[in-house]
Symmetry: C2
Subunit: 139 residues, 2 copies
Amino acid sequence: AQSAARPDTTMAITRGAARLLTDMGFALVPELTLPNGRRADLAGLSRKGRIVIVEVKSCREDFAADAKWPSYLEFCDQFYFATGTNFPASVLPAGEGRIIADAYGGAIVTDAAERSLSGARRKALTLRFARQAAFRLTP
Amino acid sequence: AQSAARPDTTMAITRGAARLLTDMGFALVPELTLPNGRRADLAGLSRKGRIVIVEVKSCREDFAADAKWPSYLEFCDQFYFATGTNFPASVLPAGEGRIIADAYGGAIVTDAAERSLSGARRKALTLRFARQAAFRLTP
């Protein structure tokens, strides 16, 4: 049942986290491909050009299977894990942000550390975000 | 017949110009709202971050009715008018780029002058392009 439920759980958490970020003023691209080839579940771009990445974890096993989450950190100003209410908080690494979400919305329960993107990297990531969003508009 | 045909003509030219720009490697946002409130018919963003604006003119009257086209120039690296084959070339201002297009494709018949966006303006325009594209993905 767990494995069958996981995709639905992931979808619900993703939707709720997206609503939260949208309410916060971020423009969003789901599944943004990063320069290292990994795909961020949600990438947000604020009015001021700040970049946030959200990685959705449906359950403890989903987190345990992902050894590469730290490779997102260098591509954003803030990084959040998004989980459901039942996710065991102690499993997540200390110091990273956390969003709790369901299908209807979400809340930041732990603020993310502030990282500082270099100007060159921010420029490259903004361009990447822009082009991936536009290519999906006109396939 | 002219006025009834105009929207179809505009749509066909826009589609052909979009195909041309896509083939050239641009990611496109139609109807990009610029900082001055005007909307560019097509805005393109290249892999290197260059910005092109295309203004579609269906007929001589369509061009004559638009006194504000020079207000696009400061927001792009290159500016093109896109018209159909029957459009009288002499009507267009010398020195601006021209694309001739139909519904199936287009070609650059006059290269656009190179303009140089400041770093700050390019950054702001790229951010604007990115957010408008992303907001249309997830309405």
